[in-house]
Symmetry: C2
Subunit: 426 residues, 2 copies
Amino acid sequence: MKKYAEMNAKELAAELEKVTADYEKIKEKGLNLNISRGKPGKEQLDLVSDIFDVLKSDSDFDDGGDVRNYGMLDGIPSAKKLFADILGTTEENVFIGGSASLTLMYDTISKAYTHGLKNSNVPWSKLDRVKWLCPVPGYDRHFGISQTFGMEMINVPMTPTGPDMDVVEELVKDPEVRGMWCVPKYSNPDGIIYSDETVKRIASMEVGANDFLLMWDNAYCVHEFDGPFVPFPDIISECAKAGNPDIVFEFASTSKITLPRAGVSVMASSKANIEYMKKLLNIQMISYDKVNMLRHARYLVDREHTLELMKKHAKILKPKFRSVLNALEKEIEPLGLATWQTPKGGYFVSVNTMPGTAKETWRLCKEAGVVLTNAGATFPYGKDPEDSNMRLAPSLPAPEVVKEAMEVYCTCLKLAALRKLTGALD
Amino acid sequence: MKKYAEMNAKELAAELEKVTADYEKIKEKGLNLNISRGKPGKEQLDLVSDIFDVLKSDSDFDDGGDVRNYGMLDGIPSAKKLFADILGTTEENVFIGGSASLTLMYDTISKAYTHGLKNSNVPWSKLDRVKWLCPVPGYDRHFGISQTFGMEMINVPMTPTGPDMDVVEELVKDPEVRGMWCVPKYSNPDGIIYSDETVKRIASMEVGANDFLLMWDNAYCVHEFDGPFVPFPDIISECAKAGNPDIVFEFASTSKITLPRAGVSVMASSKANIEYMKKLLNIQMISYDKVNMLRHARYLVDREHTLELMKKHAKILKPKFRSVLNALEKEIEPLGLATWQTPKGGYFVSVNTMPGTAKETWRLCKEAGVVLTNAGATFPYGKDPEDSNMRLAPSLPAPEVVKEAMEVYCTCLKLAALRKLTGALD
């Protein structure tokens, strides 16, 4: 099949007619499909329901104290051990949270504003301006936190090995640049793994701000859906080795290991940062849910045992992601209409459409009953300067639904491109 | 027995000699007792361990959606219903939190600083000064939140019917006074129930600040340990009726109904406030632990059923509180050495010693192996201007331990008073 870019006007007109007819036929089906959010499917939730059976009798609740009662601000010993093992760090570097790492991330930044970080001269609320680096495309909820605090977000291009470090190293010299979002493994949405070299360059950045805050959201650290576990460097010790021990806070959770709303989260940083944050956190809480921590420590045991569980998740997820990639490879690749990474883990496929057609593709899909993540959502302020990036999230629906949604998506992608190429969108 | 204040110098010297000997004998025992924090005892925890049996199979997790997955920011329907029933408000007024109401309180104030409240002109971080009313004695963790944000705390005296409202009504006219802490039922530490008149006067205060924040910590709303449930007015509708719908945020939790670190918390306010806060909270979280919410909704059912459970707690707690009160009534009352309320609920007994002797009493207890809440902790900045108030928390230890600790406490109270009266403390 000829690429659209190589078609002449007549060929384009014929293709437009054909694809429009396909689209009208799809619309008649009255579909109602959703591939917009990275939610696990019911089969994945049921996979771990036996987690609620691990604590049974009154004698089950001891772990450095009665976990049902107050105390142990930074979490119970067995949960610290588990998460230190998963992240490849040590127990004194971790703080165990509630069901959402997002809350720990928000709290860290919120405290930078209200109290300042360990190395801050003043709380950020007293600063004229806080600039922040956002590798793009990225995670909308990260950008949402930056936006709610009024940060000036700066786009940094992603490459297949992580953020463009030449750009980053230049930008962080500015002392008004106070931090950066990173999803180092299976980045949201590209599914890119930062190379070891990128990680080392990030850890050893020469930052202008003495309270620079590297937000290292290791959300998908053990989340392979295709192929073996890919080891990752421990950012905490990398930063320490590079003489930047306090610049990084790492985050992870069991949201996509056990259950999204009944899991456990973790924050890791230098011992000094954890001690500093504990003093601030002690004012707002006595500890997170320690019964749930113990339930998770008993259930997941250690990294190796957790990886066994992740293989079961992979078995469920892989066919859904294959449906997405198969459709793109079969329908879109020959037309040269879009590019994408081929992730082997994480929760998304990120598609870069022909510039200026992402919003139109989204609109067409919606009209045909297929809900996608908003076009633009993967950029700060929801503004994709190229109107090109789209995030597909196939984890929730059944494989056959993903397949059906992708038929719609590919048709809409073609139709939007044809409209653009024939001038109908201008 | 003669009151100390009525003894002459010779009588005081003889009594000092006798009590000193008693104290030395106690010290020889090498005790290690703790009545410092309002923690439930193991017997209370075991009482509710069957809560972990209520969710069993994969089909148990539905409540307006699969509670294991993302979504439902403000909580699940059945938990909203339960807490609305307990608080006497409606479901649209409540937001369900995680295991700690303290975190919801902190978040509310933190957001006043970073974003402002619904009716704020500017975030409080931009204000020169935030003044705050603190009925004293009060809860140290409340004052800790005020202190960490740099508020200027103003002491307001407590009366047997709640805060001295003549004082409060005068102070709140100042537009720099932006809020007030209240524990309306079984106040911490006095165990006082605000009278209906006090509640009505609070609800209808003419406040100078248009973003005044009444922090209504209804921590002990169903926590009778002696006698029948005492109904309480619904502060949300009281404020609405008085034309102050947005001044109040109410808080409660199951920390002392089910389990301190695996419970569910709730925040209630005007519908408009809840909507406003949801927009801000949506940035930091997707929802709190909904599995635990469902577990609680199924286990506690409604207010009536919850009160049945509270009677079982009362049965465990009453003897411990009786031990405290018996000791005070027998050993201290005849000497006219201290005053206290006789609470019928809550978690504390608050003792007002002879002025200038609370710290010395605390020190003597510690030296004899009995840990009490720090003297001064019940006041802002940890500073009791009279050095008089002490909080006793007998819930955790066994009744015989409470009895033993109270023997020590009464002896130390006498010794400190005698030292004061004989000039040894000056």
